[in-house]
């Protein structure tokens, strides 16, 4: 494959005395879909939050689309422009309408004309299949609808990479499907995606690469077929046994 678009090299991070990320090394190629899984507290969320510097890493290198993340505002801004993020708890802005949520960054950050931003936003709402909700406030939507709006918002700045931090964990079971559908559609269009999720069906269908983390380390990296059917590591086996077992 071509040069990696996201590259983590020996990344370490501590929360006080607690060593959350231990020597993380990971390369994601353009268009690749990576699913990260692992028990809670294994550091998966922290890892992807380092990729757009919601968390600061203390050693190692993180390079996104040719820009190395360091204590440099320009670099951070450049990376955040190239990376979209979807949160577990949606984090839509409750005081703005759906449309305003989508046009905020293009207008205020990218300096797009409001009319153009609205056109882009409507197109994105079509893509996540809720154009009719544009004028509503987030509080008036269901959880699944809110998460789809959040995906559309993350796409507004035309990112090269999308990060998903457990996007379906806060949803009622009947709404998980609609969000995964949107994500699968996005994958089919060739978006580079890094997802932290426990949805193993989705992972098997969509992922190019599975990453298993435990206690702050990457334990196993493998294509889904091998990962699910012949996991190499004992801890992976145990984890898969637990979550697929029922």
């Amino acid at each position: 494959m071509a040069a990696p678009i996201v590259e983590l090299c020996d990344v370490n991070k501590w929360f006080g005395a607690f060593h959350v990320l231990k020597d993380i090394t990971l390369e994601v190629a353009k268009g690749e879909k990576v699913v990260v899984c692992g028990p809670s507290g294994s550091g998966k969320s922290t890892m992807i939050r380092c990729i757009n510097r919601l968390e600061e890493h203390q050693s190692g290198r993180i390079v996104v689309d040719g820009v190395e993340l360091a204590d440099d505002i320009k670099a951070i801004d450049a990376v955040r422009r190239r990376v979209g993020m979807v949160f577990q708890s949606f984090n839509l802005f409750p005081h703005l309408t759906v449309l305003e949520n989508l046009t905020l960054a293009p207008v205020r950050v990218a300096g797009m004309a409001p009319r153009d931003a609205e056109a882009t936003a409507m197109a994105l709402l079509e893509r996540v299949r809720i154009p009719e909700q544009a004028g509503k406030f987030p509080g008036q939507l269901s959880g699944g609808q809110q998460q789809r709006v959040a995906i559309a918002r993350a796409l507004c700045l035309k990112p090269a990479v999308m990060l998903f931090d457990e996007p379906t964990s806060a949803l009622d079971p009947e709404m998980v499907g609609e969000v995964l559908d949107v994500m699968s559609g996005l994958a089919a269009e060739g978006m580079t995606m890094i997802c932290v999720t426990h949805e193993m069906g989705f992972a098997r269908a969509v992922a190019d690469t599975m990453v298993f983390m435990d206690e702050g380390r990457i334990v196993e990296i493998a294509p889904p077929a091998r990962f699910f059917d012949h996991p190499a590591n004992e801890r992976t086996k145990r984890f898969l046994g637990k979550i697929i077992g029922h």
Binding site: L54, R80, V83, F87, H95, A105, V109, A154
Partner: protein
């Protein structure tokens, strides 16, 4: 089964007044208290009271409440030593002000133009009170007094303290240690000392602070003191609102690439300030009541003007009537504002589902 309507009051009484022996005893005691208090009060305030125009002597002979005092002195109480023939100006200013408050109370009008309306009205009130333009006779602030002065100081103190308090609250939540320390220091210092001291400082020390030869108006000094004091308390209210905003909102703004000030202006403050409107209204009530302390530094607000009206030796025995009237004015403003704040809190909570 049709419940008998006639028995309801009885049932109500049994449930609410005589549900147990202890409860019955309380009811009887409360009734006894009312029986002791009510007749003399009615006798004093209504039956033996003197009304209409007159002099202290008629009151003394009547032996009851002297409402005559209000007929004779209400202009002095309400407007202080503002030139008598110009009283229509403060009266109009107050009417404008009350209209402004009534407009602001309506949530449908919470739009940017409301801020402009405030600015315009305050400007209008200033022109009315000061004069000197549009053919109005100029009136120095030293002659301002009564209710208009109380209102002007309370409103301006809150309005000016508000932006300052936002900066203080943001400073207190800042990651930058020096800025945080300065904000915390200011807030805690001011909240630790009595308002009286702050007002004294304003009236005694401000003249010392300024370059030699520069003097500032007494009313302005008191206003600055009230503003600095109120800002510290308002900052804590705003901080409460900031703390109530989930961390995810900050992160989402970060991820979208908004700068700190953009995130604050577009995302965080609009949400946080909506949450703190009820505490801000409460702070306004406190500020309104606290304005009475400017009496101590020699300004003629509503309370001081009332006191001045009672300085007349003939009327002095009837101070209770005078203070009751002033208390009623304060009560009306504060009570309705606090009711409004409670109502608003419920409304805003309902919106948040």
């Amino acid at each position: 089964m049709k419940p008998s309507f006639r028995h309801r009051p009885l049932d109500w009484g049994r449930a609410n007044l005589f549900s147990s022996p202890a409860n019955s005893l309380l009811t009887v005691l409360a009734l006894a208290l009312l029986w002791q208090l009510a007749p003399p009060l009615v006798g004093w305030g209504v039956l033996r009271a003197s009304w209409g125009a007159g002099d202290p002597e008629t009151c003394r002979q009547a032996g009851g409440a002297c409402w005559t005092l209000l007929t004779e002195k209400h202009r002095l109480m309400l407007f202080g030593v503002y030139p008598y023939e110009q009283h229509w100006r403060p009266l109009l200013a107050m009417a404008l002000f009350v209209a402004l408050l009534a407009t602001s109370a309506n949530r449908r009008f919470w739009r940017p133009w409301l801020a402009a309306l405030w600015l315009l009205t305050v400007l209008g009130i200033g022109i009315l009170m000061w004069g000197g333009v549009l053919g109005l006779v100029p009136v120095e602030t030293a002659q301002w007094g009564g209710l208009p002065l109380t209102l002007v100081i309370a409103v301006l103190a809150i309005a000016m303290a508000f932006p300052f308090s936002i900066l203080l609250a943001l400073g207190r939540r800042s990651d930058l240690p020096a800025i945080k320390a300065l904000s915390v220091g200011y807030i805690e210092l001011v909240r630790g000392v009595p308002l009286v001291s702050v007002l004294f400082m304003a009236s005694v020390m401000f003249p010392l602070f300024l370059p030699e030869g520069v003097t500032i108006d007494k009313a302005l000094r008191a206003l600055v003191g009230m503003t600095l004091f109120t800002a510290a308390y308002l900052a804590e209210a705003v901080r409460g609102g900031l703390q109530a905003i989930p961390r995810g909102q900050f992160e989402a703004a970060d991820v979208l690439g908004l700068s700190y000030w953009q995130a604050m202006r577009l995302i965080i403050l609009p949400q946080a300030l909506r949450l703190v409107i009820p505490p801000i209204v409460n702070q306004f009530i406190t500020c309104f009541k606290d304005t009475s302390l400017v009496t101590i530094v020699g300004l003629y607000d509503l309370l001081a003007a009332t006191k001045a009206a009672l300085n007349d030796p003939g009327w002095r025995p009837f101070f209770v009537e005078g203070y009751l009237a002033a208390a009623l004015v304060y009560f009306c403003f504060c009570f309705f504002m606090s009711r409004y704040s409670q109502w608003l809190e419920r409304e805003l909570n309902r919106d948040r589902r």
